[in-house]
Symmetry: D3
Amino acid sequence: MRPSGRAPNQLRSVTLEPTFNKYAEGSCFVKFGNTHVLCTASVDKKIPAFLRKTGKGWITAEFGMLPRSTHIRNDREAVNGKQRGRTQEIQRLIGRSLRAVTKLTDMSEIQIKIDCDVIQADGGTRAAAITGSYVALYLAFKNLISSNVLSVMPLTGQVAAVSCGIYNKIPVLDLDYNEDIACQVDSNFVLNGIGEIIEIQGTAEGAVFTKDEFLDLLDLAQQGISNLIELQRNVLNL
Amino acid sequence: MRPSGRAPNQLRSVTLEPTFNKYAEGSCFVKFGNTHVLCTASVDKKIPAFLRKTGKGWITAEFGMLPRSTHIRNDREAVNGKQRGRTQEIQRLIGRSLRAVTKLTDMSEIQIKIDCDVIQADGGTRAAAITGSYVALYLAFKNLISSNVLSVMPLTGQVAAVSCGIYNKIPVLDLDYNEDIACQVDSNFVLNGIGEIIEIQGTAEGAVFTKDEFLDLLDLAQQGISNLIELQRNVLNL
Amino acid sequence: MRPSGRAPNQLRSVTLEPTFNKYAEGSCFVKFGNTHVLCTASVDKKIPAFLRKTGKGWITAEFGMLPRSTHIRNDREAVNGKQRGRTQEIQRLIGRSLRAVTKLTDMSEIQIKIDCDVIQADGGTRAAAITGSYVALYLAFKNLISSNVLSVMPLTGQVAAVSCGIYNKIPVLDLDYNEDIACQVDSNFVLNGIGEIIEIQGTAEGAVFTKDEFLDLLDLAQQGISNLIELQRNVLNL
Amino acid sequence: MRPSGRAPNQLRSVTLEPTFNKYAEGSCFVKFGNTHVLCTASVDKKIPAFLRKTGKGWITAEFGMLPRSTHIRNDREAVNGKQRGRTQEIQRLIGRSLRAVTKLTDMSEIQIKIDCDVIQADGGTRAAAITGSYVALYLAFKNLISSNVLSVMPLTGQVAAVSCGIYNKIPVLDLDYNEDIACQVDSNFVLNGIGEIIEIQGTAEGAVFTKDEFLDLLDLAQQGISNLIELQRNVLNL
Amino acid sequence: MRPSGRAPNQLRSVTLEPTFNKYAEGSCFVKFGNTHVLCTASVDKKIPAFLRKTGKGWITAEFGMLPRSTHIRNDREAVNGKQRGRTQEIQRLIGRSLRAVTKLTDMSEIQIKIDCDVIQADGGTRAAAITGSYVALYLAFKNLISSNVLSVMPLTGQVAAVSCGIYNKIPVLDLDYNEDIACQVDSNFVLNGIGEIIEIQGTAEGAVFTKDEFLDLLDLAQQGISNLIELQRNVLNL
Amino acid sequence: MRPSGRAPNQLRSVTLEPTFNKYAEGSCFVKFGNTHVLCTASVDKKIPAFLRKTGKGWITAEFGMLPRSTHIRNDREAVNGKQRGRTQEIQRLIGRSLRAVTKLTDMSEIQIKIDCDVIQADGGTRAAAITGSYVALYLAFKNLISSNVLSVMPLTGQVAAVSCGIYNKIPVLDLDYNEDIACQVDSNFVLNGIGEIIEIQGTAEGAVFTKDEFLDLLDLAQQGISNLIELQRNVLNL
């Protein structure tokens, strides 16, 4: 029995609110239950030095959590003077995931900076951030096409993410915080619109898991992500 | 004529949404028109070293702006490794303003940490932050009283803030971004519930102003803030 | 009765020693009683990026306090690895104040860097710093004119500053440290040579003040600053 | 055909040199072909604050690469003033992997700090670091048992790691640098002594992969890691 | 011929102004010609952790240069966020030099923090800093004895320093800036009151020197320092 | 009697292993007994700004100690976010020493970056680092000549270093850790191939020494360094 009463393969209520921000070229406010993340996509005419004169663009991401997005207030990273290791891990993952569905050579030496800021965290923040960032990124590209900066859509497919874990020995989809802190295995799956794998992370701190258990988690993820992909298509009218 | 079509003494539409955050002891999502600020008040049992064994509590504040809260994306302070001077100025102002209406000796060696995070900026961020933080702080204190941690309400009055300026030679209330970048004089007023002054800041970069002009601004501020005070009373049922 | 025995509207003994430093293009060692500040103005051929090719110049300021300029030794900011919030507030104020009396378009893409270093602090450090920096800046501009780098004096007027406060319920001019830590209201005024306002800051930590009290402080400031303006004229032979 | 001429399921020549360092409680110099990593395990009587008075111990890891461990010299992190995101990702992975085979409640509030420093990098640095760190950690625990600080061996099993990838469309084991930069899929597997999964990371930057491809990689990893486990047993006389 | 017209073995005009600072327990404003350094000695009841419960005290030093103490303005270290390597070298030297003439076991777990801040630099800053710091330190100790915190003077002798170099092939005493940048060999000598050596540093960037040349420099240093020792005795009435 | 049983003028066993690193243009693994240092020389086509368009090259050095190179584990500087003062002192010394035997005008606007990383420390780390770096530098220059980037060897001579000290009142050569922590005087000598002095550092913390004692140390250093110079010639076939 899950603390939330959900079925093992049941997502939390997920909503995607596009264009919540009046300045960003693309934006999306994503909620996975009580996990709330603001995602913006900002167009930057400057690309990293290693891409200059290559004709390629770039997508990078930054991630942050408001100090009181969590049960206990966390120190503000800007005050500490550095980002935590976990923050850097997540923002690198978001960037890789979005680049995996983008044809960089269609971006014409433009950089898109994704910002994912968690205003309330209840597990699955990186999954929500990836799922919402795709929407923000799509909208930013559409803006660049409307304004004739780009001529084709650089996105080659959709991308969404979900966490899965083994909780009370049962594989479950879309862990919330109560499950996250008590589960034996914690994994994150980033898949594209047709269920292929972009990124897999599976961790068993203080435990282990078998190949079969891992395949169960992957099955759950494929089910859940197909729903997220559908939701993205709805808000973007794809 | 103001860009927004407002009368010189007209506030933008202001809303205060208390308890937007499910974890914080007190919280308020404040909007001054298109300026949107999330305010949380977090109880911390540890007080600063200089107050230990004095029986006094403390209120401190931190301020941040999401990178794409602005027209042009700003660097993330956590990535830069330090807070900007402007950020520090504002968070110090928020802390002083709230302490000015709090009897620290009634706080029983508890610290409240205020976090104000701007998710969209259209001028007046510090004023909105102070106005919303008061609500978050009040709710946190009420929580501490309900749970018998405190026996009396440490707040001795209300506090709210607004910016005023001279725009096209006319004193106007509650500057938005278009006015802010074009005005000759920019000032911020922090007043208590009966119109007394807690903090005044007036700046004329590349210009000057007279005593009479300053008094006009103060008059506008007193009008505007009495409305903000009323709004606070409504949402808090005071 | 003031701790120093001064009348409420009496400045401390103020001295301005121009050209104390043999390298700087302009310099002034300013004393407000026991508050001693070294001010230098350094010409820099590089201007900030946002001003390149605009024909405009820039004035910026940095502020510091020697570790033992205070009663109790303060940590050295260079060792801590960052400037305090208060330091940043003050150096931003100094820069704004000087730019308010300078026609940047007459500076020909030159930057002047002001350094104010407090070697002994007894209240009013930012007021002394602004008052002395004006002298240093004037001398630097004169040097640039003598050497035919500039053709006209970019300064459009003088600027000086003083702090005022309400001490034992009486408005007093030019607070020293003993008054500063005990006063109900602390304010800083930056005025130009004809008494117009460039910057006003009034703070009542743990208290409030009325419009009339504020006007009393402004009156004191105008008196005091007219004396400082006169002193500047004397040392500069204006 | 692999650049090195190896068969798809062939490890590079792997050596483990225990106790290369005369001070550390445990140490191992590990080589995966031209990837050379120095691993030390240092006993620290201080544990992190969150574990005090719990009876539990802790294992943490730090990772670094000498500036010229790579083809092109990298900036020294100590000079830059911060660790890269990739560095933090790796050191967190090493710590989790070792804790997964350790019974922390048998460590008696002792902390072991693992340091992995790469002196030459040719792909697979994190895999080599984990494989070598296990040896260093085992030796440190044996030392603590010999000196009667611990009474039982806290390790509950072995742990080793290897990278696998899809290179020229063929799944291959133990990627070297030439394969790493050209492969479509890059994955790291951390397994225990009986082939169970501790951590899985699979990344397809600019590509995707299927479940079957992933299972092929896992198969390779299980073969390769069983060899590494055997090598560890040999040098430790298990 | 030296640029200043001095004889090879001639010091610049040296002055020591004790107690220039009204707060510090000991202070001295030292001038070696146009090199001007403010030295303060601050008593700190907290000693470094490694000395707690040993009965020993400690002396540490910090060094800084005002940004425009030099011909060309230097960046402010507090703005850069770190001290330069040269700064750290010098402050470590000052601390060692003073500890060499102090019986730490007579300091009763008190720490003295020396601050040396250069307000104008014309060569020989570290030598001036050491020479002036001794005076500040002596005065601080005298204060501690007067106030019965210490019962005996912990200083076991005097210490002073001077730079020497080979300029135009001739060994000269007390290099000024013009000599410093042009000399073949640059050395610093720290000697005690009877000419014994506490610290020697000799550097030949882009050149070399012989034992005999070095002995010539040492001879000059012994002459010069005996004068500095005498000056210290005069201002301290020893 | 020395703890190691060596004669007063006896070096530890010294070995120089050239080209230990497969990527660096020059490298040397140097051992002075149990002090083990990895030295690499990396060619960098970018030179510091102050040398652009001068036709000159540059040599710079960075130094580091692995956390467990010492008896007690030291904090990792990259984690602390800054290099220690001692580290900076040493890396500046290495750079100066190598530049002293290099004709920078023969380097053709190329920079060589030396990295010295201590993997085990038993006293004399800076001396070993300088001695080994010379070998790495020589090899890098030879590479640049072979590849026709440089036409002449910029090195004008050899350089090596050793520490000497007064231990139990006897001058001894090449201090190991046990002697280092117990000696009255600690000095480092950097000499060229014919015994001339490049750099001298002598320190007597809590003690003093005389000219004659210093000359004894210099004599020892000249003996020891002539052996190191010979060793360098052997491995480089000079």
